[in-house]
Amino acid sequence: MTSSAIQFIWNNKILKIDNPDPNETLLNFIRLKIKKTGTKEGCAEGGCGACTVVLAELKKNTLTYKAINACISFVTILQGKQLILVEDLSNNDGSLHPVQKAMVDYHGSQCGFCTPGFVMSLFALTKDYSSYTEENIKDSISGNLCRCTGYRPIMDAAKSLNNKNRSDKFVKNKKKIINLLKKIKSENINIKNKNKKYFAPTTVTELKKIIKDYPNSNFLSGGTDLSLIVTKDRKDIDNIISLNSINELNFIEKKNENIIVGASTPLREFELFIKKYYPDFASILNRYGSVQIRNVATIAGNIATASPIGDTLPLLLSLDAKVVLQSLNKKTILPLKNFFVSYRKTKLKKRQFIHSIIIPIFKKNIFKAYKISKRIDDDISSVCASFNLEVKNKKIKNIKIAYGGMASIPKRAINCEKNLINTNISEENIEKTKKTLEKDFKPISDMRASKNYRMEIAKNLLMKCLMEIKNNKLLRLN
């Protein structure tokens, strides 16, 4: 079945939009079409959280609630979901939702412009967790900027919710919403709006058909980067193929000694899964974008974008990850280190898409990763470093090192690796070998960091990693 309309729930009703403009952002749809102005535009790039809304989705016969940035989502993201806006939280009699009331009671708003976004992020938090800790509250609002309060009252408001009754109108309406969502059938979406086309196939077979017919399309897998073409460059994207509705590509599994992640798996789900195997991987992801971004951004999107500062990439490189490429008639497996060609260029060919990522589990190895940026939350790395090594009797048997932010692509430090294999971990030794990084990398200066600083911290992170191993003690600020 194919449909030219998207269907979603808002205000307990199923709404249908026939052939929407696939370049229309969800935020513009909310503010200009349904004329609800509580959701604000602060930056149009997913960097401030003022546009945060929540989407509820049917999963395993229950609802999951995700905070997302409406400013960098296209309206098509609504397909099959319930849209929840800040105006929808308070009750019909005007009484406030517990999250809203806490924000008032703890003086969590000053100018109030960022407040709806915070309210929505905290609302999603209350749906996601049963108790609210310093850690999960901070995580949930790390993508919301407030210029007035300094955050303390917002933190206190969130903590106070621990003692509040968790029932709200969404709990009471749950069954009704589930039934409504079930009424929206999962079908291929095929939209034509003037010269723009949008496809959201539900199966790989259907996907292949579309790719064959429209080889010059842009893939949307999350779309947190792709949408900036519209919101920042002010250009149209004519053909979009969304991978987000293909359940076959949304999976994480452990198979033998590998973790396999489907292309359209959101980073947020991957983050929770990988924690058990590589805790440092999860800590880096925790500082990668914001919850709103990670709820939609995907690992395949990250790889296909091939940004030199995409934080998952150096980590995957040092873990010897492989990328599974699917063309119309075959699958190829390529080591990730061979996938990146030059600045934002990859070996992905026309009529080919990323199917999944294979991440080996190194049981005997030590895996460490570090991210250096100006700000702790939601910032792009000056340098991101990742180390995967096997150590025996204080001797390095095997080591894989990769850096982001040090070259036009995320890259392994081959020379440095060579010099470290079969050496003892000692400060003197590292002092000597860290200079080989200058052979591996020629970083550039930009608004985030100078080339000298980049090289310096690349060296120092090597030192930090090995000193942590040598002394068996973490050297971290947090």
Partner: protein
């Protein structure tokens, strides 16, 4: 007489319930009149150039475009400079900064307008830009002539001092990053009148600028501001958006909305002035400053804007809380090919204070003494050493009390020695601690701006309508003034309604700035209330035939002569007896005067005081750092609403912390700004908040001057408490030189700057050793 029931009350912001439920309307949320058009600004892609040709034919042809305007469409003044000219709306033949507006478009949607402006073809003849302070100093390019002030004979005093130091120091710029960007909605009315909704801190000046631009009288333009989504100074004089929006409405005869997107907002509008200083100081073995000479330069951008006043305030705060007997400051207002820098919370005061705090920090390290003690040794005193370098006697000094209390409360001394021990043992992570004071002068330093108006109506049902000249931008001024008025009339808070700031209700107002909004407008509102009360009193005395009896307004009642009436009842009676129940109010700050020629007088009604202790940990391998603990003691006088004051203190601190640590504005050498959105410009996020954050309002606080409720404002001063973060970082850096060398660190102390400072210090230390 009335009883204090509503003041000193921790009541939520009057819009809080609307903020959290999405029903607080900002300018962009106002429902648009039918046929509203949408604007976008086309701006220069060069920082310094002559315009050889500008071809807008493709812009005109672009989908949805209704009108395109340029400098030729301006009937009146082509400038939005508030005091001086220099900020052309559309520059005719020359561009002086990357982002300078050249033309604008009105189209049927914002998206189409923004697409259209990209289609302009401009041919430039590029000229060499001046980007940095040092380049401007070298080329002697200034926006205004800088003043020179001197007390005593500093050269002589420095020469005679036991110790001398030379210190060069920079503090960085800062983007306001109000969450709501610049936006205006202009609606043409009959007789060529305009109704303009604008996100501005200064409705009256917006009105005048638009009138002058249109070559019309001020009475033809009305400006309305219900609320502003953060201002911080960035909406005090940035009139470009409302001016261009009004011009588009004038040209098309249609309502027009103009909302800058985040990138355009950051690119087009000015920011905080960065400052560079070269100082020479002489001091004795107790670290007491005997003589000080400072060359103080700031990056002003292309025009004077408010740079004169900002630099003036910097000079007036170059002493912070310290007595400096012999001092000379020579000020340079550098002209650069960057957006015209403007007001930003602190308004130069904080930049001035950072200069002296850095000098004192260096003195302490030179003498190898605890900077806390050296700061104390230099404090202004109560009976002597109490005249500032601009001739004002300090009569309300409480810095010693605050400082001593905080040292005790924060356990500073014990932690100071504990940290030194920690650093001996810890190789890669180092801790630092610092305590810094704040003394900040309150009043506009331009004396005539210290006036305010208000308008109060009481309707026959006893409800009260209140207008004043201040703009609600998150600071809670409406809430506090409503509390004052409710208190004065003995009514519950809910009876008081404050509506939009409106130039047709209260005229000729000053900007909501200089931390003075509630002081000035609150007093004006109380003046209006007292006039209505006088009318009521006359009426009551006549009607009930009483003399010299106190009338008490309390709990919704009016009581006199052992009788008690409902407020509404008396009001209704007064109305029926033809008594006026409406009045304007006015206030002008007493006592203040200032002679700009001699740079002396009493520019401030009073001073705000506070102090903060900050402890940080830095990672010497990466320069990353974390604020472990902050203790603040701040004087808010007798606070009108302690909860809102606390919000200002904490929020101001974190904003100051951003200024001094992670917020870095970057320009390429060709003058193009590169930090233009939240992906490249970082304001503090939740994890930057101090891990422990103990903030207390000074309980003994009380304003000596006759200010509403004897309160002290908390608008700007708390920002400067964050200086302690910077000096704690510097203290941690000093540990790698075993506290024997003075670190060289400029603000903002980004991880990169910290690492470079550590490396430089290590080299110097190892070299000497």
């Amino acid at each position: 007489m009335s009883k204090n029931i509503f003041v000193n009350e921790k009541r939520p912001h009057d819009s809080a319930s609307k903020h959290v439920s999405g029903y607080a309307d900002y300018t962009d949320d106002i429902s648009e009149p039918k046929g509203t058009l949408h604007g976008a600004i086309g701006w220069s892609k060069k920082s310094h150039a002559l315009i050889k040709k500008i071809d807008l034919s493709e812009v005109w042809k672009s989908e949805g475009v209704i009108s395109v305007i340029g400098y030729k469409d301006i009937p009146g003044r082509n400038d939005v400079g508030p005091v001086f000219d220099g900020d052309p709306i559309f520059s005719p033949n020359k561009v002086e900064y990357y982002g300078q507006p050249l033309f604008a478009v009105a189209a049927i949607s914002t998206e189409l307008a923004r697409k259209a402006v990209l289609k302009a073809k401009v041919i430039y003849k590029v000229l060499k830009p001046i980007v940095t302070i040092k380049e401007a100093l070298k080329k002697k390019k200034f926006v205004l002539k800088g003043i020179k002030i001197q007390r005593g004979n500093p050269s002589n005093a420095i020469r005679k001092s036991k110790n001398q130091l030379k210190v060069n120091f920079t503090t960085g710029s800062q983007e306001h990053f109000y969450l709501e960007g610049q936006v205006a909605l202009a609606i043409p009315k009959e007789d060529n009148d305009f109704l303009v909704y604008s996100s501005t801190q200064h409705p009256s000046e917006t009105q005048q600028i638009i009138a002058k631009m249109l070559n019309q009288k001020s009475n033809s333009v009305t400006v309305l501001v219900r609320r502003v989504g953060g201002g911080f100074g960035g909406k005090e004089t940035n009139f470009m958006t409302s001016a261009i929006c009004s011009l588009l409405a004038y040209k098309t005869r249609k309502p027009v909305k103009l909302r800058l997107d985040r990138d355009d907002d950051i690119i087009i509008t000015g920011k905080r002035h960065d400052f560079y200083s070269e100082s020479e100081v002489g001091f004795n073995s107790l670290g007491i400053i005997e003589g000080l000479k400072i060359k103080l330069s700031s990056r002003c951008g292309i025009s004077p804007d408010l740079s004169g006043a900002i630099n003036g305030r910097a000079i007036m705060h170059i002493d912070n809380a310290y007595y400096i007997p012999h001092i000379r400051v020579q000020n340079y207002l550098c002209k650069t090919n960057t957006a015209s820098n403007t007001a930003f919370r602190g308004f130069g005061g904080n930049q001035g204070m950072m200069v002296i705090e850095n000098i004192i920090d260096n003195i302490s390290r030179y003498l190898n003494k605890d900077p806390c003690q050296i700061r104390k040794n230099n404090f202004y005193q109560k009976k002597k050493k109490n005249i500032t370098h601009y001739g004002m006697k300090i009569e309300d000094n409480v810095i010693q009390e605050i400082f001593n209390k905080l040292v005790k409360k924060s356990n500073y001394k014990k932690r100071y020695s504990k940290i030194k021990k920690f650093n001996q043992k810890s190789k890669y992570l180092k801790k630092g601690i610092a305590i810094t004071p704040v003394k900040f002068g309150i009043s506009f330093t331009t004396t005539h701006l210290n006036q305010a108006g208000a308008l109060v109506h009481i309707y026959t049902d006893g409800s009260v309508h209140l207008n004043h000249g201040g703009v609600e931008m998150g600071q809670g001024t409406n809430t506090k003034i409503a509390q004052l008025v409710a208190n004065e009339l003995g009514l519950s808070f809910e009876k008081i309604k404050i509506s939009s700031t409106n130039t047709s209700k209260v005229p000729n107002t000053s900007a909501s700035a200089a931390s003075s909004t509630t002081d000035l407008n609150g007093a004006a509102a109380l003046d209006a209330v007292s006039k209505i009360k006088q009318n009521l009193e006359k009426f009551i005395k006549k009607k009930y035939n009483i003399k010299n009896i106190k009338i008490v307004y309390e709990k919704g009642l009016i009581k006199f002569n052992k009788k008690s009436f409902k407020f509404e009842t008396i009001i209704k009676e007064a109305y029926l007896n033809r008594i006026s129940l409406s009045s304007s109010g006015f206030y002008s700050t007493p006592k203040i005067y200032f002679d700009k020629k001699t740079f002396s007088g009493r520019p401030f009604l009073y001073f705000c005081y506070g102090a903060a202790v900050t402890e940080v940990t830095i990672d010497i391998l990466t320069g990353e750092n974390i604020v472990e603990r902050v203790d603040i003691l701040h004087d808010a006088g007798k606070a009108i609403n302690p909860a809102l004051e606390l919000g200002q203190i904490e929020g101001g601190f974190v904003q100051g912390q951003g200024w001094l640590t992670i917020e870095e504005v970057n320009w390429k050498t060709n003058g193009q700004i590169t930090t233009v959105s939240p992906s490249t410009y970082k304001i503090p996020a939740v994890s930057d908040m101090p891990k422990k954050f103990n903030v207390e309002i000074f309980k003994q606080g009380k304003n000596k001057e006759n200010v509403v409720n004897k309160a002290k404002t908390t608008g700007e001063p708390p920002l400067m408490l964050a200086m302690s973060v910077f000096y704690a970082i510097k203290d941690a850096i000093a540990s790698v030189g075993k506290y024997k060398k003075i670190p060289i660190l400029d603000a903002p102390a980004t991880p990169e700057k910290i690492l470079m400072s550590l490396n430089e210090l290590k080299n110097r230390f190892n070299h000497i050793r």
